[in-house]
């Protein structure tokens, strides 16, 4: 009995210790993010008491704004890195990418929890969100039904993929073995689900045919969304691992810098090919739909900006950067690609949606604050986890201080 109580005591103090903030409180990121998050929570309070109209510029003509167009549609595309990398590492056994797999999976998991979770803010009657799940109202004829289910299943799969890290953190030897044995199944399920919901997000707009500018509408939107999620995900991994490398430097062993560069160059090659294919897909659709006449005026120029400036240019930069091992150029290309995917998703869901309608939707500042709240909260949780769990470190090499010995005995 005493031992159980003792153990409980130590577990309790372990969590108490883990919950305490680490590091300096006054950093530029904290100074910016804390007020934004507080403001966001207040705004959300108003949103749930007064309705969506109080905090958003949504209208009858524009039922979906940036909470869908950015948080969900773009956020999920950016989270595509998780399925791309788990495919590379667990299915194709590309050992090269192993060092960043944990951070990428964690990022993917959190992105889904936060960005797809932000969908709840946008639902007018969120207490019914359970309806398509519990089966009293299965709208399986709906693309959104599919996407919603995939989000839930994928979150579970990502959690399973990440669970070995959690068990290491807690020093649970047996659970770790179980978690490990589930990884491959979760990876395979996760990749299959990703294929479908990445494209499913595009399929959401298939019935909005008369509302989306013909340069962006195509029956192949789902395929575009899938292919672009590959290079969106890769670019996000490059972007995020560059920043993480800087922020969490002290957690990584010697030689991590060279290894990261090697990884980034490898990723850039993958992105080049994916973008190359995507670009020719775009050209094919352009020719097939005979869109020459549309390339004029504002929308034509805007389209060319997206396709040439933010697909073709970063593709060339990726190719150049990977050939000449110029990591700096690759990073620029990654940022350009991210902007390009953002533009593409926003064009389809917001900007070129109802392009011919007089009353255009422009996001309310409160919508932007809530969006930033979502992003910042995700970063906070990411940081919290990375500072505590063996994500960046060599697996298991450094546990939390009081559990160090157990962890060493694990390996």
């Amino acid at each position: 009995m005493a031992r159980v109580a003792d153990e409980r005591q130590s577990l309790f103090s372990f969590f108490k210790d883990q919950l305490r903030p680490r590091g300096k409180l006054i950093t530029p990121f904290n100074v910016i993010s804390i007020p934004v998050i507080i403001a966001g929570v207040i705004i959300l309070f108003f949103r749930f008491t007064q309705g969506l109209g109080a905090t958003t510029n949504l209208s009858q003509q524009n039922p979906w704004g940036i909470w869908i167009g950015f948080d969900v549609v773009t956020g999920v595309a950016f989270a595509g890195g998780a399925y791309v990398l788990t495919f590379a590492v667990y299915v194709m056994r590309m050992d090269k990418f192993h060092p960043i797999i944990r951070a990428t999976v964690l990022n993917g998991f959190l992105a889904y929890v936060f960005y797809a979770g932000a969908l709840v803010f946008d639902l007018g009657r969120p207490w019914h969100v359970i309806n398509p799940v519990i089966g009293n109202a299965f709208g399986y004829n709906s693309v959104l039904f599919l996407v919603a289910w995939h989000f839930m299943l994928y979150m579970t799969a990502e959690f399973v993929e990440f669970s070995p890290v959690i068990t290491e953190w807690l020093g649970l030897k047996k659970a770790r073995r179980v978690a490990n044995s589930l990884t491959l199944a979760a990876v395979i399920l996760g990749i299959s689900l990703s294929t479908l919901h990445q494209s499913g997000l595009g399929a959401l707009f298939l019935m909005a045919k008369p509302k989306i500018h013909p340069l962006w509408y195509s029956e192949f939107i789902p395929i575009f969304f899938f292919v672009s999620s590959i290079f969106a995900g890769i670019s996000m991994v490059i972007f995020e691992s560059t920043i993480s490398h800087r922020v969490f430097k002290m957690q990584m062993g010697p030689g991590s810098h060279e290894r990261l560069n090697e990884i980034i160059i490898g990723l850039a090659r993958g992105a080049t090919i994916a973008m190359f294919v995507y670009y020719f897909f775009k050209a094919l659709i352009f020719i097939h739909d005979d869109q020459w006449a549309l390339i004029k005026g504002f929308w034509g120029a805007w389209y060319l900006t997206e396709v040439l400036g933010f697909v073709l240019v970063p593709m060339v930069l990726f190719a150049y950067g990977s050939r000449h091992k110029a990591v700096g150029i690759i990073k620029i290309a990654a940022v350009l690609t991210l902007i390009g995917v953002l533009l593409n998703r926003l064009n389809i869901s917001v900007i070129a949606f109802n392009w011919n309608v007089a009353d255009k939707y422009i996001p309310h500042w409160m919508e932007i604050v809530v969006t930033l709240t979502v992003v910042f909260s995700e970063i906070w949780i990411f940081r919290w986890i990375v500072n505590r769990m063996p994500v960046m470190r060599e697996p298991g090499a450094l546990g939390s201080p009081n559990r160090k010995r157990e962890l060493q005995s694990l390996n």
Binding site: H128, A137, G139, P164, M207, P395
Partner: protein
């Protein structure tokens, strides 16, 4: 062949045509009742807006002050307080009034969009909404080609508002309130097959009075509400670029692909993992640790 028979025949031909499109996606259930619709003859409408009033009263919605509000001056759309509105157009053939509301599509985009089955295409035709299911995602609004479903943005407990063709009346075979209130018989309630015959007959008897098109015959796969007009439909606020494909067909292929991918991918991926696995691999499942 007399005229009456001719129209009956052509009416049947068009039903046959619709049945053929239906076949492409499983076809109607045998024995299913034919759906209700309304024929709007815009040449008969005098813009009295009795239908707006009747709709508001019948359904407990906003009842406009028809005498004094001057609402015909501006182009209106239905909104979260009014399920139907009458608009005024000055056209090449003089003043035209057009009543608008949900078209009660034969294969509605809104019901295909709804993930909770809150939007329901009833067997009798009217498209209705269930408050206890809807989660307010507004995907129906994004999908409806006529922008009909409207959302209560200013409520913490918002509803989707759209014409339900007075379901409490039509479900027992009664006319909707608007049809009953119309003093000029500009609105006729009936089965689509009969309405098509009446519409064709009118065009045939007065070829100079009407444009030779019945809006809703084929639009978006055919709608329950049909319109006759004296002027091209573009002039009185109708979109002519919606196509004749039922909107749910646009997502059909994708949704078909879902089980295909979920059948094929997991096995293929597992196979690839086996192919890349080194011979003497003692690890249970994970690679590389």
């Amino acid at each position: 062949m007399n005229r009456r028979n001719f129209f009956r025949l052509s009416g049947m031909a068009s039903i046959a045509l619709m049945a053929k499109t239906a076949e492409a996606s499983h076809g109607p259930r045998p024995g299913a009742p034919e759906f209700w619709g309304v024929l709007v003859d815009t040449t008969r409408c005098i813009g009295c807006r009795s239908c707006e009033v009747a709709c508001g009263e019948e359904n407990g919605m906003f009842v406009p002050d028809v005498e004094n509000d001057g609402a015909l001056e501006t182009l209106r759309t239905t909104d979260e307080t009014q399920w139907t509105v009458v608009n005024h157009f000055e056209t090449s053939k003089g003043d035209v009034f057009v009543k608008r509301q949900c078209m009660h599509c034969w294969q509605p985009a809104c019901t295909a969009a709804c993930l909770t089955k809150a939007m329901e295409k009833t067997e009798l035709g009217p498209v209705i909404w269930h408050e206890n299911r809807c989660m307010g995602c507004r995907f129906c609004m994004v999908s409806c080609p006529f922008d009909v479903p409207k959302f209560e943005y200013d409520s913490w407990n918002p509803k989707i508002q759209k014409c339900i063709m007075c379901w409490h009346r039509t479900s027992v075979g009664d006319k909707p309130a608007c049809v009953e209130s119309c003093p000029t018989d500009a609105l006729i309630f009936g089965h689509k097959r009969d309405l098509m015959e009446i519409a064709r007959m009118r065009i045939y008897n007065h070829p100079e009075k009407y444009v030779h098109k019945i809006y809703g015959e084929h639009e978006v796969g055919g709608t329950g509400w049909l319109y006759l007009s004296a002027v091209p439909f573009e002039e009185i606020g109708f979109r002519m670029d919606l196509g004749t494909t039922p909107y749910p067909e646009y997502t059909k292929d994708f949704l078909y692909g879902v089980p295909l991918v979920l059948l094929g991918f997991p096995a293929l991926l597992a196979g690839m993992n086996l192919m890349t696995r080194p011979e003497n691999d003692e690890e249970s499942g994970v690679h590389g640790e």
